[in-house]
Amino acid sequence: MKKILQISLGIVTSVGGFLEIGSVMTAAQAGAAFGYQLLWAILLGTLCLIFLVEMSGRLAAVSKHTIVEAMRERFGFPFFFIVLIGMVLVAFMVLVAELGGIGLSFQILTGIGFPWWAAPVSLLVWLLMWKGTFGLIENGASLLGLVTICFIVAAIKLRPDWSSAASGLVPTMPHMDKAHYGFIAVSILGASISPYLMYFYSSGAIEDKWDESYIPINRLIAGLGMTFGGVLSMAVLVTAALALRPRGIQVDAFDQAALLTTTALPKWGFYLFAMSMLFACFGAALEISLAIAYFFAQGFGWNWSEDLEPSKDARFSLVYTIIILLAAIPLVAGIDPVKVTMVSMALTAATLPLAIVPFLFLMNDPIYMGKHRNGWLSNSVVAIVILISFVLAVISIPLQIIGG
């Protein structure tokens, strides 16, 4: 029963980790600008993520190490430190974007600007981490995040031409705006394949005391959970293609995205969008804060657990406290969270090789994985991900300048 209930770990990881301000804004931009043509990017991102998340869980269950712990031990402190800098910097920017997403959701609901929400929102996120347990965060966020199903309902209600939509699952080049198309594709992949998700997932598996008997359920969680997230993203794209594209609306701002569900769901669509963004960004903010604190604590060998009282893992608690405090500052200063989102996704893409190359080595190391090492399929997918991420890194930044 416990194992079945733990499918929620996958769902919260997908709702909080997959569907968040980055994936919603990019999927909405994609649908508004190119119709169904970029569905393949979401599909590819989802597939990659299924493999990566499954591997994260398998590593934890078999080796009893999180990714960070194994990386420090296998590659040494200097390499760990380089990865720490890269991952934490990017994750921090994404955290700013997520806290901003919560603030923007409150802004469209109340009319009060998001800078005013930065402090109370950050306090709320911190409070939940300070007083909450891993189970509360895991289950609470997953239950609240179910409101995002409204995107699927909206997409269906708009009656898409399913065969046209299906053709978007195959990559094609548009006739015009190739740079913009490429940039959005890169952004979608960068938004989908977030390293902090892997770190959070493997830490969660250790918090939940997984062992080898969890390997089959891990596959189920990774497959179901990430698929759920991918379907949600696709629903956002389809909704944008049908509701915004005919009106020529490009989604450059959050208040434009807020119109997404108003056609399909006239009575509640606006409020459902706001609540969806609120809960999805909230879940993501919690995950990222935890992932950053886990990175420090696991890498340096401190005591860590979301289930402990803060004084029992003082350094771990101090890290997430400082991180959340620092993340509020740019928002209070009025920096546009949507712009931060775009920059952070390009940077995520640029730093993916740094996260994935060591991970690939670990997943093939018999000392850590024993007989549960990667097979050819997992290695191939990860190798392709590394290749795509390298291409993303090279293309994304100039595209950001041309198309963004």
Partner: protein
């Protein structure tokens, strides 16, 4: 031109949604004001360096008109005057049509 159409479309959709009681007053008003703020530099850039072959005089008139309509719409949301807003929305749609036609006229034929 696409950016201009995007913000005109945003203002139109926000106005429509408000008339259907789909969106709250504050959000609608702020989105309309935001649309106008976004349109200002776009209109300025378009008129400074107009796309080749475009009727610049007509574009200038239509963009100025549409910004006025959007500003009025924002005021009418505050006053909760649905019938007057509906009429402004019709005028905005007419402006949108003109801008769309101007944009289509200069698009490369495929």
């Amino acid at each position: 031109m696409d950016s201009a159409l995007s913000w005109l479309g945003t203002a139109e959709m926000a106005g429509e949604a408000w008339l259907r009681h789909t969106t709250p007053d504050k959000y609608t008003r702020q989105t309309l004001e935001h649309s106008n703020e976004a349109l200002r530099p776009i209109a300025h850039d378009l008129l400074e360096a107009p796309p080749r072959g475009i009727d610049t005089a007509l574009l200038a008139v239509v963009l100025a008109q549409s910004q006025k309509h959007i500003a009025r719409m924002a005021r009418l949301v505050r006053e909760r005057n649905a019938p007057a807003l509906s009429s402004q929305l019709d005028s905005l749609r007419a402006d949108q049509k003109v801008v769309k036609q101007l944009a289509d006229d200069i698009k490369p034929k495929q």
